[in-house]
C-alpha cells in the first residue's frame, strides 16, 4: 500500500480518491458527500473543512474488513442512516477520529435508531479529542457500541448520550459526557465499560436485569 496525498477542494468529489493508502486533504468549506470507504485511507481536514452527507446516508460508512480509516481535524455532519448517522463501522476494521467534530447527525429507522453520531458493532474505534453535539437517535444519540465492537475515547466532549450493549467494550479516558451512559447486556453476554477520569453528567444507567461490567477509575 503506497501512501499518496491528494487535495480535494470543496465542490469536488472525494470518492474517486478513496484508494488504498490515500491521504486526502479536504480544503476549507463544505464537502457534500456520503462516503462508503473500502480501503485504508486518511481524510485530513484543513481549517474550516466540513464533510456533510446532506442526510443522504452516513457521512462515513466502513463495512469491509481489514482497513484502517483515519479522519483528522474534520467536521462530520448531516449524516443519516438506520444506524450511525455520522460514522457507521460494520466491518472488522479500525476507525480513528482525531480532533474531529461529529455534529447534527441522526440515526432513525422504524421508530428506533442506534448511534446518531457513531454506531459500530464490529471492529474498533478510537476517538481522540473528538467532540459530539446535536446528534439524534433513540439509542445512543452520540455513540452506540454494540455486538463485539471496541471503542475508546481519549478526551472529547459528548453532548448527548452513549449506549454500550451486548458484548461491546468501551473505555473513556478524560472525557466529558453531558448525557447518560447506558450499559445493557443480553441474556448471553455483558458489555464492559471502563471510565478513567471521566465525567458523566447524566449518570450511568446499568440495567439490573442485564447488567454490564462498569469499572470506574476516577481516582
Amino acid at each position: 500500500m503506497s501512501e499518496h496525498t491528494v487535495r480535494v477542494a470543496a465542490g469536488s468529489a472525494i470518492a474517486p480518491h478513496l484508494s488504498a493508502g490515500a491521504v486526502i486533504c479536504l480544503g476549507p468549506g463544505v464537502h457534500v458527500e456520503s462516503l462508503s470507504v473500502e480501503e485504508s485511507v486518511t481524510l485530513r481536514g484543513e481549517p474550516g473543512a466540513i464533510l456533510d452527507a446532506g442526510r443522504r446516508g452516513p457521512v462515513i460508512a466502513v463495512g469491509v474488513d481489514g482497513v484502517v480509516v483515519r479522519v483528522e481535524t474534520l467536521t462530520l455532519r448531516n449524516g443519516a442512516g438506520e444506524a450511525g448517522g455520522g460514522v457507521r463501522l460494520s466491518g472488522w476494521s479500525e476507525v480513528i477520529l482525531d480532533r474531529c467534530v461529529v455534529e447534527g447527525n441522526e440515526a432513525s429507522l422504524a421508530g428506533g435508531g442506534a448511534g446518531g453520531g457513531i454506531y459500530l458493532h464490529r471492529g474498533s474505534l478510537t476517538l481522540l479529542d473528538t467532540d459530539f453535539r446535536d446528534n439524534h437517535a433513540r439509542s445512543g444519540t452520540d455513540l452506540h457500541v454494540t455486538g463485539a465492537a471496541r471503542a475508546e475515547a481519549r478526551g472529547g466532549r459528548f453532548g448527548g448520550d452513549i449506549v454500550v450493549s451486548e458484548g461491546a467494550e468501551l473505555t473513556l479516558v478524560g472525557s466529558h459526557v453531558v448525557g447518560a451512559l447506558s450499559a445493557r447486556g443480553t441474556t448471553t453476554r455483558a458489555p464492559s465499560v471502563t471510565l478513567r477520569g471521566t465525567r458523566i453528567d447524566g449518570g450511568v444507567v446499568n440495567d439490573p436485569n442485564l447488567p454490564a461490567s462498569v469499572v470506574v477509575e476516577n481516582g
Binding site: S34, E82, A83, A110, G111, H121
Partner: protein
C-alpha cells in the same frame, strides 16, 4: 427523528388516522445511577453465559414456595402446559401474571389482605419487591400504574413490553395470551411477516429477506418442544474477531396480544396468520432484554447475520450506476442472498404562518403535504416578522415524543402536539406579536419519499424479485402498504443501503 410512518398503520391498535400516525418513544432511562454508585465492578456474571429460563420444575417450585405447596395455584388454564416460570424472581424483572382464571388479583398487603385489584390474566408487570412466596409488582391499569402483591407462582418469565407511544410513562397496553398449537415454520415465506406496534422493521425485514432467500434457515432456527409447549430459537452471536456462536433462546407460546382479542398478536403476526415471525421476534426480544430494547433501534445487516450465522455484505447505492442495479439484484438473488434495503430519511424544511387567535393566545395547525409526513421534533422555530415579539420560540421535543413545550422568553405557556400538528401559545402580557399572522414558523418534516410508489422514509424493506427484467419489487414488513415495483433510478434516489446475507450452503432455497 422518529417516524410516524415507520410503524404499521393499523397493526396492534385501532385503525384510526390518529393511530396511523402514532409515534414511538424515547428510551426508558430506568435505574439511572450516579457515577459514585457504580464504582467498582457492577454485577457482572449474573446473566453472562446464561440461557433463557426454562419452565420451573416441581422441586424448584416447592423450594421457591418454601415447601408450602398448598399455596400453589394451578399453573395452566386447562389448555395444556402453562407458561415459563423463572426459577427465581428478583426485583426489576419484567414478566406477566398468568394464573388459572380469566383474571389475576393483586392485594395491597403482602399477606394477601387490603384492597384488591383485579387484572386480566396475562397482564404484564414489573417486579418491585419479593417477600416470601409473594411478589410486589407494578402493572398498567388503563392510563395508570398500579402496584400490589401477588403470589410469586403466578409470575411468568416474559420480555418487557415496549413503552406506549401515547403514554410514554407506561408500557404498552397489551396482554400476554397463549397461542395454542405448533407454530413452528413449515414453509416460511417473507410474506408471512407482519410488523406490529413495535419499531423493529429492521428485524422483521431481516426475517422476511432470509425467509425469501433461505426458508431452510428459518425452519432450522425454530424448534417446537411439544412436551413443554415452548419454542427454542437459535440465533448466532458474533464474537470479537468474527466467529459466530450459536445461542438458543427458549420462549413459551404466550404472545403480547391486543386488548380484547387474545388471538391478535400486538407485535409481529396477524390473527389467523403465520406465527413463526412472532415466536422469533419474541425470542429475539428476550435475548436482547425486552421488546423495547429491540425496538430502540438495530441494523438489518447485523440482524440477518444473527439469524443465519453468516456475515452480511453491505453496499451503498451511491456507488452504483443505474445500469448496474438490476444485474446486481438478479445476481445476488441467484446466489441465494437474502436482500435487505433501507430507505432514506427525506427530511425537508418549510416556512408557514399558521397561527390565528386573539390577544396573547394563539394556535395553529401545521401542514406538511402528506399524511405520512410529520414534524421532526426539535426543529421548530417561531419568530415574529413584525418584530414585536422578542426572541424566538422553539420546541424541545426529541425522537418519539408525542408532544413538547414551546419555549421562549415571551411565552408563558406553549405546546406542540406532534400527532395532531397543533401548536398553542399563550404569551406573557403584552409580549406577543402585533397579530398572529406575523408569527412565522420554520420546521423540518419527513415521512413519505414517494407517494405514488408507496415508499416510506426511514423504513426497511425486503427484496422480493426483479419484475419484467426492469423493475425491483420490495416487500414492506408491515405486511400491508406494499410498494409498487420501482425503477433502478427510483431505487438509487430513495434507498441508502443494501445488505446481502448468504445463508450457509444447504440452507438456501433450491
Amino acid at each position: 427523528m422518529l417516524q410516524h410512518a415507520t410503524r404499521p398503520p393499523t397493526r396492534g391498535r385501532q385503525a384510526t388516522p390518529e393511530a396511523e400516525e402514532a409515534q414511538g418513544v424515547r428510551p426508558d432511562k430506568q435505574s439511572r445511577l450516579g457515577n459514585a454508585a457504580v464504582a467498582g465492578r457492577a454485577g457482572v456474571g449474573q446473566t453472562e453465559g446464561a440461557q433463557a429460563a426454562s419452565s420451573i420444575s416441581n422441586d424448584e417450585l416447592s423450594s421457591w414456595l418454601g415447601g408450602d405447596e398448598e399455596q400453589r395455584p394451578a399453573m395452566a388454564r386447562g389448555d395444556g402446559v402453562g407458561p415459563q416460570r423463572p426459577s427465581k424472581v428478583s426485583s426489576g424483572t419484567f414478566g406477566a401474571l398468568v394464573g388459572d382464571k380469566d383474571t389475576v388479583e393483586l392485594t395491597q398487603s403482602a399477606d394477601g389482605t387490603g384492597e384488591k385489584i383485579s387484572l386480566p390474566d396475562g397482564s404484564p408487570c414489573k417486579v418491585l419487591e419479593v417477600k416470601g412466596d409473594r411478589v410486589k409488582v407494578e402493572v398498567r391499569q388503563g392510563k395508570d400504574k398500579k402496584s400490589g402483591w401477588a403470589l410469586a407462582s403466578v409470575f411468568t418469565d416474559q420480555p418487557a413490553l415496549n413503552r406506549d407511544d401515547e403514554a410514554p410513562g407506561l408500557k404498552d397496553d397489551f396482554i400476554y395470551a397463549k397461542q395454542k398449537g405448533d407454530h413452528s415454520p413449515v414453509d416460511p415465506k417473507g410474506k408471512d411477516t407482519a410488523q406490529g406496534a413495535l419499531g423493529d422493521c429492521y428485524f422483521i425485514a431481516s426475517m422476511a429477506a432470509v425467509a425469501n432467500a433461505s426458508p431452510q434457515s428459518i425452519k432450522e432456527a425454530i424448534k417446537y418442544n411439544k412436551d413443554k409447549e415452548t419454542y427454542t430459537v437459535r440465533f448466532y452471536e458474533e464474537q470479537y474477531g468474527g466467529q459466530a456462536k450459536a445461542v438458543y433462546i427458549e420462549v413459551d407460546a404466550y404472545l403480547p396480544t391486543v386488548q380484547g382479542n387474545r388471538n391478535d398478536p400486538a407485535y409481529a403476526g396477524e390473527p389467523g396468520g403465520k406465527l413463526w415471525p412472532a415466536i422469533m421476534e419474541k425470542a429475539y426480544a428476550k435475548w436482547k432484554g425486552g421488546y423495547e430494547a429491540m425496538g430502540n433501534g438495530g441494523y438489518g445487516a447485523k440482524a440477518m447475520g444473527e439469524i443465519t450465522g453468516s456475515k452480511s455484505a453491505e453496499k451503498s447505492p451511491r456507488s452504483m450506476k443505474e445500469e448496474e442495479v438490476i444485474p446486481y439484484f438478479e445476481k445476488a438473488k441467484k446466489e441465494g442472498g437474502a436482500i435487505y434495503a433501507a430507505v432514506e430519511h427525506s427530511r425537508k424544511s418549510d416556512v408557514q404562518t399558521p397561527f390565528t387567535g386573539s390577544g396573547d393566545q394563539v394556535s395553529g395547525t401545521v401542514t406538511h403535504g402528506h399524511r405520512w409526513n410529520h414534524i421532526v421534533p426539535g426543529t421548530m422555530k417561531i419568530s415574529d416578522k413584525g418584530g414585536k415579539m422578542k426572541g424566538t420560540v422553539t420546541d424541545s421535543g426529541r425522537e418519539g415524543d408525542p408532544s413538547s413545550k414551546l419555549s421562549g422568553s415571551a411565552v408563558e405557556t406553549g405546546s406542540i402536539d406532534y400527532k395532531k400538528n397543533l401548536a398553542d401559545m399563550k404569551f406573557r402580557a403584552g409580549q406577543g406579536p402585533a397579530k398572529p399572522a406575523d408569527l412565522e414558523l420554520r420546521f423540518d418534516y419527513q415521512g413519505c419519499v414517494n407517494p405514488e410508489k408507496l415508499l416510506v422514509a426511514n423504513h426497511a424493506y425486503a427484496f422480493e424479485g426483479v419484475v419484467n427484467g426492469k423493475e425491483l419489487q420490495f416487500y414492506n414488513p408491515w405486511g400491508t402498504w406494499q410498494p409498487k415495483p420501482i425503477t433502478p433510478a427510483e431505487f438509487l434516489k430513495h434507498f441508502t443501503n443494501i445488505s446481502v446475507n448468504k445463508a450457509p450452503s444447504g440452507a438456501t432455497k433450491s
